[in-house]
Symmetry: C2
DNA sequence: TTATTAAACGATAATTATTCTCCTTTGTCA
DNA sequence: TGACAAAGGAGAATAATTATCGTTTAATAA
């Protein structure tokens, strides 16, 4: 990332913290900047290792806590939608998934329901693609109904 | 799943076990059948809860061990490609990912590199889709080079 | 600027998901 | 059937993550 873009993102970060009433601590800024610079979609542990070079006294717990805060605030995104526990399937035929971001339910989505997934050009960096897995992220009917009901009873 | 299809899958399961020299234990068959019947892409714990109704003495460790064996044998697939640890990103603009199934590296794939992802028909079961996340699964250049080198030195 | 206070930090204990160890039991194959 | 390796069960060990609690720091108002 170019320095210009990084500056822009850090400014956005500080602004969002102010909006949300989050204290702008040294730790938070160093964590967010470290993650922004890392291209490899790191784990909390990996971020911790980098951040430690600037703040040797920082604790891993602080890194976890802030990453979670940033996720809740929409300053970060979780690449691993289904982390926490392994999810398995015996259906080995090619297919995709509908994933409810609320209750974490996973449903099959048949390839016929989708326009074919195809690369327009050769994949970058000499990567050999073996298959595509599409996740349609959203809200399932049950969770929709639930939040609908909650909204109605409130008004 | 219809009973016919389940029978077919169980037969395939037994055949594959024979091929790979895996003992056809009662536990294995009950675990595989349970997972085949479950539509919700369950966790090991969830499978354990179901299997326990048929084999109350089964241990959770056995469920884990066999699921792993089945994965290695290609009898199952892991829906959660990045389980184990959370992976994060600060790039909030819409984009997709290249995922190396060997070293678990994740690289960005810009939407311009892909034919647009679109549903052909309304999503099933009243699901509200918010965004698509495509994972192009395969082998990264580094891992390709590594296995190439290993192959050459062997011959 | 400084004083006040809630929020955040650091250390560490607790929890959860998963793997490992070790002894016993069970399929497999002669 | 019997022998033996493979698999199972119980529970300890490990890894990732979250919670607790006393101390420090950022925000804000005087």
């Amino acid at each position: 990332m170019e320095p210009r873009e990084l500056d822009r993102r850090m400014e956005l970060f500080r602004q969002r913290c102010r909006e949300k009433g989050l204290a702008l601590t040294h730790q938070r800024q160093v964590i967010y900047e470290a993650l922004s610079k890392m291209e490899h979609h790191p784990s909390p542990e990996a971020i911790y290792e980098v951040v430690r070079k600037q703040i040797p006294s920082i604790s891993l717990g602080t890194v976890y806590k802030n990453l979670k805060t940033f996720l809740d605030t929409g300053l970060l995104r979780e690449v691993s939608v289904h982390h926490g526990t392994v999810r398995l399937e015996a259906n080995m035929s090619p297919h995709h998934h509908l994933v409810c971001t609320q209750c974490k339910a996973i449903m099959d989505l048949e390839p016929e329901d989708l326009e074919p997934v195809r690369l327009k050009r050769k994949p970058p960096k000499g990567f050999r693609v073996e298959r595509f897995s599409v996740e349609a992220l959203g809200i399932c009917a049950a969770c929709l109904a639930k939040s609908e009901k909650a909204r109605r009873s409130k008004s």
